[in-house]
Structure formats: C-alpha cells, structure tokens
Symmetry: none
Subunit: 195 residues, 4 copies
C-alpha cells in the first residue's frame, strides 16, 4: 500500500461518499471539488483524469477495508468466531460492501486493465482470507465441508446477497444477524445435529 498524500485521501473520502447514490458518470469533478472544499483544478494536480481518480479511490478503499478486517480478526482464535466477526463487520459496514459490489459491476466502465487486475487482486485477498479461516475450521473439525473454496463462495455469496436484498428493501425484509447465524450454522452443521 503506497503512501497517500493528505489531499488525496480527502478526495477519496468525498468520492467514496458519493458512490452510495451515484454511478461513475453521475459523479462530477466539480461536485467532488466543492464537497472537498478545494478547487476543481486542484483535483487534477493529484489525478491525471477522473477515471484515474476513481480507480485509485477504489483501490484505496479496498485496501483500507481489508486492513481493517485483518486487524479485527487477528486477535481471535476460533475460526467460527472469526467468520462471525467478519460477518458482523460487513453488516456494520454494509454500505461499503454494497459499494464494492457496485464496483465489480462497474468494472467494465474502466478502460485500463490494471484497475481490473487491482480490484481482482484486492477482492481475491478477501476471498483467500475467508477461505483460510474455513480451512482452519475444517482442520479443527468445527466446519463441515469437503471443499473450502466452495464454502467460501457460499459464505460470501450468502452474506452479499442478504446485504443487497436488505438494501433493496430498505431493511424491511432481512434480519442480517439471523442470516449470519444461519450461514455459520450451515457450515458447521454436523451429523449429530440430526439425530
């Protein structure tokens, strides 16, 4: 993670904030500048183009988010507890997750391939983190599955799906905490549960 200048981070935060409601084309440089309290020209002092700004912002946010998750689970021992903390974290940072999903859909908006790779790399890190936790859980006999990769897809897919539906229905259709327990239950389901 490269060293970011103070003003770059300011611009990133403003731009990320605009992502909730707007897409790439609806975010205006003039708006970013005004909300950041700086001049339009200043934005171009730090970024060659709007596209570069948005791409770097995306990478910055994915990196920040990943570091946050890492720091929060490193003190936890139990793999299941780790999944739970990751889940709770996602629920609390719901909008960030949704923006990440938006970015994945938007990826074709960007011309340069390096952004695609960079996003891919960062999302991959997240995937690997969950997968390693699940593998740990399998080793410890707590998680019941024969395929950690598939279980990772299941875990992340279920959580993301729930967050999307929750957002789409303005929180009226989904109890996120219940979903988290449900997916953890599913992964830890044992033969004895059915006896």
């Amino acid at each position: 993670m490269r060293k970011y200048k103070e003003k770059e981070i300011l611009i990133f935060k403003t731009t990320w904030g605009l992502f909730s409601e707007k897409g790439f084309h609806d975010i205006k440089i003039s708006e970013i500048a005004k909300l950041s309290g700086i001049g339009k020209g200043t934005v171009y002092e730090y970024f060659k183009s709007k596209e570069e700004l948005v791409q770097e912002m995306i990478i910055y946010n994915l990196e920040i988010a990943h570091e946050k998750v890492i720091s929060e689970i490193e003190i936890i021992d139990s793999p299941v507890e780790k999944l739970r903390v990751i889940g709770i974290n996602d629920i609390n940072r719901k909008m960030d997750i949704l923006k990440t999903l938006k970015i994945i859909q938007m990826i074709t908006d960007f011309s340069k391939n390096n952004i695609k790779e960079s996003v891919f790399e960062n999302i991959g890190k997240r995937f690997k983190l969950v997968q390693e936790i699940i593998e740990e859980g399998i080793k410890e006999g707590i998680i019941n599955t024969d395929n950690a990769s598939n279980a990772t897809i299941l875990y992340t897919g279920t959580m993301n799906n729930a967050l999307m539906i929750d957002n789409f229905t303005n929180g009226s259709a989904i109890n996120m905490d219940e979903i988290l327990e449900y997916v953890i239950d599913t992964l830890t389901k044992k033969a004895s549960d059915y006896r």
Copy 2:
C-alpha cells in the same frame, strides 16, 4: 405483461446486448439505432426518452426471463431437480443473470421510482419461486433447513456469487456445475451423510 410491438422488441434486444459491456451512460441512442438498423428518431417514436427505453427494456427482460424459468420447471416434479434445472439455466444464461445483478446496482441511476418497484417486483417473483420450491422440498423431507427464506438467500446468493467470480476471472476459477451440486448438497445434507 403488456403486448410489445415488434420494433420495441428489436430495440430491447439491441440495448440488452449492449449491457454486457456498458452501463446506462455509456449506451448511446445513436449506437442502439445503428445496431438496430433503424434511425435515431425512430427510437424516440417508441420511447419518450433514453431513460424510459432502458427501464422498459429491463422490465421486459426480467419478465421474459421469469417466464422462461417457469416454463422449464413446470414439468418437473422433484423440488431438488427443480433447483438443479434453475441452476443449470442460470449457468447457461450466465450473462443475463449478471446483467440482472448489474441492474440492481444501477437502480439508483434511475430517477423515477416506478422502475425501482418494477424491478423489485420482478426480482421478488424469482425469489418467491425458489422459496416455494425449497418449502416443497422441506415438506417432502428432502431439503434440510428450518428456514426456507434464509435457504433461498443462501441458494441464490451462492449461485450469483459464483457467476460473478466466474465472469470476473474469465471462467478460470470456478466450475459452475460443481458449485451447483455443492449448494444442493448443502441444502439436502442429512444426518446420515455424516455417519
């Protein structure tokens, strides 16, 4: 589902085709017209604005897709087999599913609320269909879960997630058929499986 004119459908198909690679703002009326083999003005004979065109196209495609799924599973008895057929269908129509996910992310691009409702309604139909199949499976003792709604989120979330990763990695990371079996297995997992 209202009766669509021949030319409307032509325009819908061209526009839907452009969705793979482009977002709302990157789709140009001039391009739609040219690819449809009609004049720019003709597009406006059928739709008041670009926004209306895109919205009606979305609704049209969601409706068509739903009808297709319905017709394919109505001759099948077994709930598990139904889920499998739906899954296979999704895998085959991968791009359509991804476009639908894109639409959900794009929903804030649209000003009028009726499109949001309409998309919500159509996606809801899909959700309910899967949920009913799962409830059927629970009743028949084939599917093992205490919450059909959560299981639906798990099933659709896992499949969508897999399709996204598959697309993102150009098919190199995911075996979709395996994922489908994995999620069906998960839902039908019984105590005896672990003995």
Copy 3:
C-alpha cells in the same frame, strides 16, 4: 383572391388559431394535422412546406379580414361613422389585429420575398382604405387635418397601440371604446371646440 380548397381553409383556420399563443417555430405540423383531424402527410398534399403553409395562411387571413371590413363599411355614408365602424370592428376582432401585428414582426422569419410583398400589399390596402376615408372626411370638412397620410398613421397607430396594451395588461388598463372616441375626436377637433 384565388379559390381555396375546403381542406386548405380547414388547415388555415387551425393554424391561425394557434397563432394567438405560439410563434412560427412553436407551431408543429403534427399539431396542425391533429387539430385539423387529418394526417400529417395530408398537410403536405396541400402545401410544399411549413413555411409556405404559414405564408399562404397569412395572406388568406389578411384578404378575408380586408373583405370583411369593406363589406361592413360600404353601406355607410359618413366618413367619421366609417372610421368608427372600422374601429369597433377592430376591437371586436382584437385577436386578429394582434396576430397581424405579430406577423409584421415575424416577417423576417420568412425567407422568400414574395410573402413580404404580399403582406405589404395587404396591409397597404388597409392603410389606403383608412386614408381614403380620411380624405373624404377632410373634403366634407368634418375631419381637421392638413395631412391625410399622417392622420392615417395616427389613427391606425393609436388603435393598434391601444389593442396591444389592452392585450398585454389583460384588459385591465384600457377602455377600447373610449380610445376610439378619443382618436376620432382628435381628428375632428375644431377651433370652435375650444371657444
């Protein structure tokens, strides 16, 4: 005055009706057709272009208006009474006069010179009519002026100005009948009036 076909007159009337509220560019052929109860293509059966249609309509209306005035004053003997009848007529057909004034302002909108000439000719007819009446009045010693042409400008200008102000102020500032009497008084003012 050439012989007009029934449908031409229909189109003229619709178009003339639209002139109250709209200018040349705001009148749409599609609107004329719809309000006339005919097809858009039909309009082009009778007129080569929108410009030609509007020009012919203008000439038609000026001619009709002039004939009407002629027929109304031909049975009257007194020049002053003639001026009064013309004035009353103008007040009653207020909108037509205002449209004529509008046309004069719009004349530069038209490319062909023959329309300018035609309008000029028709408005000239009106001018000459009034001037002849005034000359008659001078001869009879009822109208007091040494210049019939200037008096004509004064009479028509005052009346038109009053109608414009009346229209502009939605009838709240002007008593048209009073103005008419005022201008007639002015023209007939005699030395004895002041004794």
Copy 4:
C-alpha cells in the same frame, strides 16, 4: 438594475444585435458564442439556458434604453421639447424601438411569467414617463387634451406605427421627422389655430 459582469454585457450586445433579423428560435447559442468571440460553454457559465439569456438580455436592454432617455430629457424644461427629444431619440434608435415591439409580440414564447412582468414593468416605465410629460404640458396649457393617458397612447402608438411602416417600407414611405411634428402639433392644437 443589478450589476452586470463584463462578459454578460458582451453576450447581451451580440444577442441584441441578432434580434434585428431573427426571432427567439432562430438565434443559436453557437452563433452568439462565435460572434462574441467566446466558447459555447462559456455562454452557459453565465446563463442557465437560452431562455434565461434572452430574457435577461431583454430586461437589460429595456433598462439601458430607459436610463438613456431619462438622462437626455432631464435637462430640458419644456414638456413639448421633451416629447420632441424623446421622439428624435426614438427615430435615431429606431431599431431598438422595433426590437422592443418585437419583444412584446414574442412575449408568449417565454414560459416563465416573471419575464412578462419584467417587460411589462419596463414598458410601463416608458409609458408613465411620457404620460407625466403630457400632464405637465396640460398644466402649463401647452398641450390640449382632456385625457393624458389616451394622449400617451396616441403619441406612442403613432410614433411606433410610423417606425414600423418606415422599417417595413425600407424608409421609402415615411418622413419620420414630419410625423413627429405632426403628432406634437396634434397634441398642442389650439382653438386659435383654426381661427
């Protein structure tokens, strides 16, 4: 009268210049920009829309014109001489008067009501100015009429009418200076004149 920026005035002047030959719809922003020696986008830096630009230009010109007239008559004592100066002024600024008359006809082209009010207010100022001068003349016994308001309509109507005819006939039919004297004579006509 609000403070106008230098570039606003530049744009106003160019636009006002185009009014001689063109109506609202025939004036193109691209043409205004080119003739002003600025970019198309620059016009939109100063005015939200073409409509707003034209409206503000109209108000600006009416205000400027009024101020000019005021400054020219304030040093004159005699009411008759004031009318004469106003008349000479109008003759010299013939095109401006004709544009003002054009504006009155065009007023329906504008959607917002505030422009109508603004134009009304400015034209009203002009009317009141003349009316006050005439009232002054009546008091001094120089102007002979029992109704200053009607006399104002007569004076302005005659002059405007003459200017219109003059313009329409390319100056071949009217001697403007003679008309001015004629209308002043008419207003000052006394019983003794006829003895």
